[in-house]
Symmetry: C2
Subunit: 343 residues, 2 copies
């Protein structure tokens, strides 16, 4: 009756702008899988005794053996009648997981559901080493220890406010006056953080490349640290990747990389606001726009969507969580339609 | 057109037993959130310089600061017109994540989708410290280092075959002759493993308890190591937990715990096959059945479903992945219907 009541609410004009009343999604399939990885044999480590759960007898835990490592997790939701030509893959950024694309930290529908409602089959993955992909022992398998993101690190890094505006106490934080990040949900956002490594790019890339081989042709929307992986995945499989939409990508293929394989793979790069406040991001942006230029120089398409220049002010690096996240998504959806990616 | 073609295939009698042709699910909402956890302040650790992604300038990584730790992740899929009275929460076991309940390692629909199709709103969570819940620095926050599951460890522990039958080479493995585990997918199953700790039970329990407060009234289906957490969550909130269905739970509340709060919370415990081959599991089973008896002694309901005694032979500890997983789920669904948990 939930749907019927919702329809009745629409008919009666009940509910304000907050009421998320939408017709049911016609979902054909929900599932998940792991791709990639390898088996590593470890020896020479001493056995330990552990109690697997309270009340259970102790068991001998032998840390040696063969281990499955470096695989990657992906979950898909497929529609009964998709209107997009290709599945849409959402790739997250550093220190985060696929949760980036789900419900926003302040509880609004995220881009996963937005693009499902626009008619895309949507795949959400966790990069190798994060979330449901699992992670491997260090230093035996991963070369280094991981890094952990503090609650405050993103305040400046994600251009929500100036470094000087960060304070562990929520009431004393100072953000950019026009920021679109839902500030009251900052600590909820911090719960999405997971440890990351800085020495595992080759394994992350390998898993993404296998993922593309498994599920594409596809369109990739990628965020931040993921940008470099998606650009390289498109280079490795330009026949499989039909478009790359990079949300504030933080890296690119190495300078001098031949962009000609991407001639037929349209790219879109999306930038938020407050670059003037961040020399760090200005440098990244220059690198990325150089790469976009290299694609265009080869006769390809690499469009730049500069949100403030297009009239949207105050978007942070986490624009899929910003209060106008659906509006940003709508502009991306329109670009996809213009590029012929919808049926 | 995917659905129309599927309907046509049914009409024409195309497709064998393998064709998973079902009408679309009417999904009202898909989302996720984190619950619980706390903020920990760390100091005194030296700064390091890291390169966040190739081509990006180096940044100073300060390992000190305030960290959000010990939260838990859950994802929900809600139907337009649920036929169950309460949402169904699926809690996984040790060394695994919510992926346990999704597509089986050999690619069949798992229990998440099974119970959705039976009319339940379904929540799938990752225990604190695993998967999308993230994990915290050790030994500063978690007391110990984690343990990693080798590919072979589960062969005997999950009663798929005898310890002596394990071999890293798939062709040389020897399983129980009647096992229902999809043996060719053993290595795919190993990809679902994630590190776990043996010193974090209190934090895991705290997060589960907060989760129950947030989303219940509910019914919980719980597996293995999760059993103890669900039994204790029901004790802590007998007004919120409307039933506990424990799939081979490996632990119970401590001996002597008062079971009287559970008088109104029906429990079902489900056991697979090959207990005669495992003194370890016999001991666990005795503990668990003593707890079930304590619930009955207080006038409550604690049913035991012994699959081999009921005519289902060869089920492993991972029965939600076994080749007859839907048949096992069907018996659980029937129990829920008998207990008045469907509308």
């Amino acid at each position: 009756m939930r749907y019927s009541l919702a329809i009745m609410a629409i008919a009666l004009g009940i509910g304000g702008a907050q009421a998320q009343v939408s017709p049911p999604l016609q979902v054909q399939e929900i599932g998940s899988f792991h791709v990639g990885g390898r088996v590593v044999a470890l020896g020479d480590m001493p056995k330990r005794e552990i109690i697997p759960s309270p009340g259970a007898p102790p068991i001998q835990m032998d840390p040696n053996g063969e281990f499955q490592v470096e695989q990657m997790y992906a979950q898909y939701i497929k529609l009964a009648e998709p209107r997009a030509r290709y599945p849409l893959l959402l790739w997250h950024g550093g220190g985060l997981t696929g949760v980036t694309w789900e419900t926003t930290p302040d509880g609004r529908p995220g881009w996963q559901i937005y693009f499902l409602r626009q008619g895309h089959d949507v795949y959400v993955s966790d990069a190798m080493e994060r979330g449901r992909s699992g992670w491997a022992r260090f230093p035996e398998i991963f070369a280094s220890e991981p890094v952990f993101r503090s609650i405050g690190e993103g305040w400046d890094l994600f251009r929500v406010g100036p470094q000087s505006g960060w304070n562990p106490k929520a009431a004393q934080r100072r953000a950019f006056a026009d920021t679109r990040f839902p500030l009251a949900a900052w600590d909820a956002f911090a719960r999405q953080s997971v440890p990351r490594w800085t020495t595992t790019d080759s394994q992350i890339q390998a898993a993404y490349n296998e993922y593309v081989q498994k599920v594409c042709p596809c369109v990739i929307i990628v965020h931040s640290q993921g940008g470099n992986f998606a650009f390289n995945a498109a280079l490795a499989a330009p026949d499989k990747v039909r478009a790359v939409i990079a949300i504030e990508p933080s890296g690119t293929p190495s300078a001098g990389t031949d962009a000609s394989p991407l001639r037929g793979v349209p790219h879109l790069v999306v930038w938020g606001d407050h670059f003037a406040d961040s020399p760090f991001w200005q440098k990244i942006r220059n690198n990325v726009e150089r790469w976009a230029g290299a694609i265009r120089d080869m006769g390809g398409t690499a469009d730049i969507m500069d949100l403030p220049a297009d009239g949207l002010r105050g978007n942070s690096h986490m624009m899929m969580m910003d209060t106008n996240s659906d509006e940003v998504a709508g502009r991306i959806q329109a670009w996809m339609a213009r590029r012929g990616l919808m049926r």
